[in-house]
Amino acid sequence: MEMGYLLFGILLMFLATYLPRALPLALLNKRITSPFLLAFFSYIPYAVLTALTIPAIFTATQSVPGAAVGFAAALFLSLRGKPMITVALGGAAAVWLVEGLLLSIL
């Protein structure tokens, strides 16, 4: 990859990431009082994270069955209230058990 092209690309990626984060934070300095907007904002984290995860998680690894087992493992661990890192590594370990061991034996 040509270095100048890459460096300017990284600068553009930075701007396209930083500006959507910083500008709304810096520009909105009024207290919102609308009950609708307050409720709307309170649901955003859960809606965003769900939309990012489903269905993308099922194609995040080498195979759909492996990813499905990883998803189930993560769901199980988080239902039991395990910390984030345990859920993340537990899910990955489950995927590896299926894709690295099971599928290579079969």
């Binding site: 990859m1 990284i10 910083a22 207290r31 709307f40 649901y43 910390p83």
Partner: protein, 237 residues
């Protein structure tokens, strides 16, 4: 001053699991960036400047294919549109902070940091949010560098399995509150339903993934908010 020190400690403690998760996820990014032809230290530099998962992955993929800058900016921007919603809601907890502080803190509005911050009671101080960012930035950049330098030592099945770690982090954030609050559970189910529909219905296949995420978020959050407002009105009558 004592109050600020308590804020720093609280922010740091809250961010440890995020930082550890980031290390695992960005490890996979480091590997894939090197495979795309990015030198290891530049891969870490991308992580340090961008501090975003899906945006970075997409951006490097486009750069590796020699894509045009317009395509790069539009794709990354669309994937990152959700941050506008997050920052708007976060701004309500930072009303009192001077603008320059908010411009600094804006750098750290990631999915996980936002989720951790927004669940706090009351307004957020500069020291709290800043200390929430530090360790995850180190984890994210350090994991990238480690993956970029040493990733080739791992079998391919292991690095592929790490691809799921990011989504598992999201699950770990969403599931516990969803089991305690039925409104959150409904939000999750609506968002999941919309997301599956928009992904697999051929009529919507033209939608880039960033738009899909935005549409699902708007739909699920506003449906639930409308419902809340209606219940509130009924109770008043």
């Amino acid at each position: 001053m004592t109050l600020q020190r308590a804020d720093i400690r609280r922010g740091m403690r809250l961010s440890v699991p995020i930082a550890l998760g980031y290390f695992a996820v960005s490890f996979a990014f480091g590997i894939s960036a090197v495979q795309s032809g990015v030198p290891p230290f530049l891969a870490a530099f991308i992580s340090l400047t961008n501090l975003s998962s899906s945006g970075q992955f997409a951006g490097v993929k486009i750069l590796a294919a020699g894509g045009a800058y317009v395509e790069l900016v539009l794709s990354v921007l669309i994937i990152n549109l959700r941050y506008i919603l997050m920052s708007l809601s976060l701004s309500q907890k930072m009303i009192a902070l001077p603008r320059w502080q908010k411009l600094l803190l804006g750098y750290g509005v990631t999915d996980e940091i936002y989720a951790a911050a927004i669940q706090q009671e009351g307004d957020l101080s500069f020291s709290f949010f800043a200390s929430l960012i530090v360790l995850p930035v180190l984890g994210w950049s350090g994991g990238t560098l480690t993956g970029a330098l040493m990733g080739q030592l791992l079998p391919q099945t292991v690095t592929a399995a790490l691809g799921i770690a990011l989504y598992c982090m999201f699950i770990a954030i969403v599931v516990p509150p969803a089991t305690k609050d039925s409104r959150i559970l409904k939000t999750v189910l609506i968002a999941a339903g919309f997301s599956i529909a928009l992904t697999y219905l051929p009529q919507f296949s033209f939608l880039p993934v960033g738009w899909r995420v935005i549409l699902c978020t708007l739909a699920a959050s506003s449906l639930m908010a409308l419902r809340d407002v209606r219940t509130l009105k009924e109770r008043r009558q």
